[in-house]
Each structure stands twice: as C-alpha cells, then as structure tokens.
Amino acid sequence: MTTLHDDMDLKTAASQAAPARRPAATDLLQRRPELASLFLLVAICIAVAVVNPAFLQASSLVDMGRASVVTGLFALGVFAILAAGGIDVSFTAIAALTMYSLTLMVLTVAPWMPMSLILVLSIVSGAILGAINGLLVYGLGVPSLIVTIGTQYLFRGILLAFIGTVWLMELPPQMVAFGKASLFDFETANGAIITLPVYFLVFPAAAILTWLLFQRTLMGRAIFATGGNAEVAARLGYDQRLVHVFVFAYAGALAGLAGIVHVSANRMANPFDLVGSEIPVIAAVVLGGARITGGTGSVFGTVVGVLLITVVNNVLVLVGIPSTWQRVVVGSFILLAAAFFVTRQRQFHSESIK
C-alpha cells in the first residue's frame, strides 16, 4: 500500500513539475489557444504593411470590418453548435432561404414594413429553420453533419423550386437605406469615399450577446457540458432536447440575420448566393480555438478567427500574390494553424493522462 502511495506521489510530483519546466508563454497558449491566432493575425498585418504600406490606411480597417460582418455572424452560430459537440453546414442555406423569401415578401405584399420588423422577422424565421435542424438531430439521433447536409439541400431546394430563381435588383427602399446608412465616412486623397456602414455594429452586438449567453446563463453551461460529454450532461439533468433545439435555433437566427445584412449591403437578392461559403466559416471558428469535437472554444477566439480569415482573404492582391497562387496561400494558412492546434491538443491530452 505504501509503495503504491509513493508511486502516486511521484506521479503527482512529476505532473506538477512539468508545467513549471515549460516557459510561461507555452503555458498561456495551452489555456488560451486563440492567442496563437491573434499573434498570427498581428504578424500578418505587420508583414503586409511592410510589403505594401498602402495597407496602413483607415480604409483598409473599414473594408475589413465591413467584410467580416456576414462571416462573423455565421461563425458565432457555428461556434455555439461546435461548443455543444455538433456541426452545422446548413446555415448558408438558412440565410439564403430567409433573405430571399423575406425580400420577396416585403417587395410584393408588405412594402410598408419597417426595417426593424424585417430584421426581427429574419431572426425569427432563421431560428425556426434552425430549430428544425435541432429537432431532427435530437429526434433521429443521427450525426448533425448528415442532418444538416440534408437540410442544406432541402432548404435550398425549397428556395429554388418554390420561391424563385430570379435576381431581385430593386430592393425595398428601407433595406437599401439600411445598407447605405453610414456610421461615419471620409474622403481619401484620390477622391474615393470610404464608409463604415451602420450594419457593421450587428457583428460586435451579436458577439457580446453570445459571450453573455456562454458566461452568464445556465444554457451556456449546459451547451459546454453537452459538448464535453453528452451522456454526463444528460445525467446531470440538462435537457438534451432543449439544448439541441436551442443551439441550432440560435445559429439559425444569426444566419437569418446575416442573410438580410448580406442583401442590404449587396443591394440585390440573388437566390444562388451564400450557399458554398460554409467552409471558410467553419475554418474561422476552428482557427479561433474551438475544437471540432466540441466542449471548448471562446467567443473572443471566434472573433479572432473571423478576422484572420477576412484579413488573409483581403490582402492577397495588396501584397501582390498572383490569383493562381491565392488559394494555395489561404489553404497553407489554414493547415498551418490547424497543425498547431492539433499538436497543442495532443500535448494537452498526454499531460492530463499522466
């Protein structure tokens, strides 16, 4: 008995000693993996600024900010689902179906509808479509990847078969006004006008809301618990059906909102848009430190991941990478970051097993 105790003491001592031997930076990265992406983001910005000082303009920042909104809204939803241990690839189809049907409805039957009501409706209808995902995933007990591949086809099919395939070029005036409303604008040296639109605020607002959800509510804890180990979470008394329906509805709501922002910003509703842009969104969330197997991640990390993807996609021309090479570069960045996270997780696991 004593020997066994001694043995255990030795083991404990060894595992306690191990973190002390490692430099503080590694330890920090262990706990906050998104800092690696943040570091990468800053490094890229510095490198781009050195190669082409034109990057250092307020207009770059504004352009990136605007370009990140739709990806950001999608990513926050995917983050919530990943945290619960699921995956969603149908969010773009939810966004496309919501944005096109709603725009068509406002154009043809309800031109009087104020913008605030349009936004609320987009959130509600997105949430309903998302809830269908949640009910199917929970009810069928099938992996969420399969379910959402199915619903992606279904939602898109409904859109193209029953609602319409024609581009809507003339948007309702309130949507055009929403897309054009500017927070501030200024003129550059060459006479170009740079505008930061009001709709940009939607992204930080959704990020704060998601942060509050995970930090301050029981539902947030239930989601992480489910993602960590669904069986244990169920035994702890977290209603699994509710958790599933909630996360998918939450992601759907954000997707619906993203759709309307996309249309208003783009000044046209193209039913063929959005679907096909899932992969960069999922990549952004994973780059932000969320594990694809669930139970981890942070809102801050997700925002960093979104900014990283947006920046990488928007500076390639600026630094002069020919278009034939751009995909190679984006792919390499994702692989590089993914390799880092996998190594980190392996280290983490071997540590905890010890």
Binding site: N52, A54, Q57, S59, S60, D63, A67, V70, T108, G157, L160, A161, G164, T165, V166, W167, M169, E187, T188, A189, N190, G191, A192, I193, I194, T195, H262, A265, N266, R267, M268, N270, D273, N313, N314, V315, V317, L318, G320, P322, S323, T324, Q326
Partner: protein
C-alpha cells in the same frame, strides 16, 4: 407582376405543349423541335424562350417548344433529354449543362434519326451542329477595345474571371490582353485574372482591395455575369463613377441601375433570344435535309453570315456574329 407573367408563361407553355403533343399522333407529318435549356425560370432562358416562341409563330406548321429542369442539375437535364428521345421528338436543340453527361444520349438519339443541335458547347462531340454566338477571341478583343476607348487608351487596368478554370473567361481576358498590348501601348495591366466565383459580394471586396492598392487604376474588364455588379458597386460607393471605366459581360436588367449611374461603362453579351432562334433555324434546315454552309444567312439577326468549322466531333461548329455591346444609351433595347 413579373412573377405572375412567368407563371402565365409557364401555363401557356404547358398548354401549348399539351396541344402540340395531342395532334402529333394524328398529323404524323408535323415535325417537332424541342429546345432544352440548362434551367428554366431564370432571366437568361426566359429570354431564350421568347426567341423560341417567335420562331414557333413563324413556323406554325411545326411543333416548337422549350423545356428545362427547375434547378441547375445536369442529371435532371439528362432525364428530360431521355424522355424527349423516347417520345420521338424529331429535333433537339439543347444548351447542355455539362456536355460530357449528354454524350451518350445524343449518340443514341442521332443513331435513331433524331436531329441534335447544341449551343454553348463547342467541345460537344456527339452533336450535328453546335451553334456559338460569336468567336471568343473577337469578343474579348471587342470588350477591351470598348474599355480602351473609355480609358483614352492609357492607364492601369485589370481583369476578372469567374474562375481560373473557366475556359471561355480565360479566352476573353486573354484576347483583351492581346488587344491592349498590340494596340494601346500606354495601357498597363496590373494584378490580372482575379477570381470572382460569379459572386457579386466577393467581387466587390476584391475590387475595393484593387482600388486601394492602385488608387490610380482606370479600367476593369470582367467576365462572369455578376462581376459588373460587384465592381460597379465598388466604383459607385467609392465615388469614382466616371473616373474609372468598367466593361464586362453582364445582363441588361440587373445592370440597368449601374449603367444609368455610369458606374458600368458598357456590358457585353449575346442575346439568348437570337441564339434560341438560330438553334431552331439550324434544326429546321437539318429536318428539311439541308446543311449549313459557310457564309450562310440563318435569317436571325447576328447570324446573317455564319462561319462553319469542324466541331469537336463529327459535327459542325457554326459561329455567328451575335455579340452585343450595350451602354447607357441602348441597353433598353435588350431588357432581359
């Protein structure tokens, strides 16, 4: 209203085809030509339908209709073609979604005596005649010449393609590049062949980035249908309308607002209405046992003097001169 008219159009088409198929059994000598498009219900093929209907009115003794799948799905198109061949349509005029998928059924159709005419498929092997609206090189050069005219023959310019894998787009910008190099030495091509993936929003972001990198850029030549919308919006929002020229492939209806504001200098396209008529005209010739000769007049504007070449397979490649460049002043003649 527009939706309603589309529906009425569909209903009429259904009735017309129902009427057309009914007497087919009775009047066996009545020949039928069926046009099969990539997707039905989108503006491009709705416009083609007006051409097919026009041709049907001019030839009341023939059963002429247009059909197509509801979604852009090559398997559904194949299904439709198979059904038509089984029903014994005399001639097929097809705009293939994916030429390789239709090779087999086209071969079987021709073996049993069905006339097969295609469009937008110059690599289709099993077809009797493939009709193309224009020569790709001539089109690319024409777009570039219009751009050069707007730019005053000098300044920085760049190009957009749908994707680097799109053969026709690369041909268009390649010919444009060649045109600028040989005729306008002061035009400087910068960061060429940007990929747009036919997504107006992605094109917009990329155009913004180019405007930031090259504040002195003077021209854009674009290829995919949505590119002019994305670049046009970037130019307009930056307040550079009239200072930066934009010429590219586009459709008149979606581009109308930007053409009016001047953000788009000119759009190039071919008129699907005329292409539909030309396909049917060729099918009719073949049904009458005639053939298409070099320099022939198909009786359709833009196809008055077609050039005939050897196609990808045994069939002919018939090339018209159906390109249209429209600007603020004349786009209203082509609203679709």
């Amino acid at each position: 209203m527009k939706k309603l008219s589309v529906h009425i159009g569909l209903v009429t088409a259904l009735m017309v085809s129902a009427v057309a198929f009914a007497p087919e059994a009775a009047l066996a000598q009545e020949k039928s030509i069926t046009t099969v498009v990539k997707i039905s219900g989108i503006p491009w093929f709705d416009r083609m339908k007006t051409g097919v209907e026009k041709f049907a009115n001019e030839n009341p003794d023939m059963a002429i209709t247009q059909v197509g799948p509801a979604t852009a799905d090559s398997a559904q198109q194949l299904q439709i073609v198979q059904d038509l061949v089984a029903k014994g349509t005399d001639a097929l005029a097809v705009v293939p979604m994916d030429p390789s998928i239709l090779e087999g059924i086209f071969k079987r159709a021709m073996d049993r005596g069905t006339i097969v005419v295609t469009h937008e498929a110059d690599n289709q092997k099993n077809t009797m005649v493939d009709v193309e609206a224009f020569d790709n090189d001539a089109y690319g050069a024409a777009l570039n010449e219009r751009l050069a005219e707007c730019m005053g023959g000098k300044g920085k310019w760049t190009t957009f393609v749908g994707s680097l894998g799109s053969r026709t787009h690369m041909q268009w910008v390649g010919a444009g590049e060649e045109n600028a190099k040989s005729k306008h030495a002061d035009m400087e091509l910068v960061d060429p062949n940007n990929e747009s993936f036919d997504d107006a929003n992605a094109t917009y972001e990329k155009a913004k980035e180019i405007l930031r990198k090259h504040p002195d850029i003077k021209g854009f030549q674009t290829s995919a249908g949505n590119d002019v919308l994305g670049v046009g919006r970037a130019i307009e929002e930056a307040g550079l309308t009239g200072k930066v020229c934009l010429v590219g492939t586009g459709l008149p209806n979606p581009s109308a607002a930007y053409l009016d504001s001047g953000a788009i200098t000119a759009i190039g396209f071919w008129d699907p209405q005329k292409a539909g008529m030309a396909m049917n005209a060729v099918a009719k010739l073949l049904l009458e046992g005639k053939s298409v000769e070099d320099g022939m007049d198909l009786g359709v504007p833009g196809y008055e003097k077609v050039s005939v070449k050897q196609g990808a397979g045994k069939g002919q490649l018939v090339i018209g001169n159906g390109m249209v460049l429209a600007d603020k002043d004349n786009y209203k003649e082509y609203l679709f």
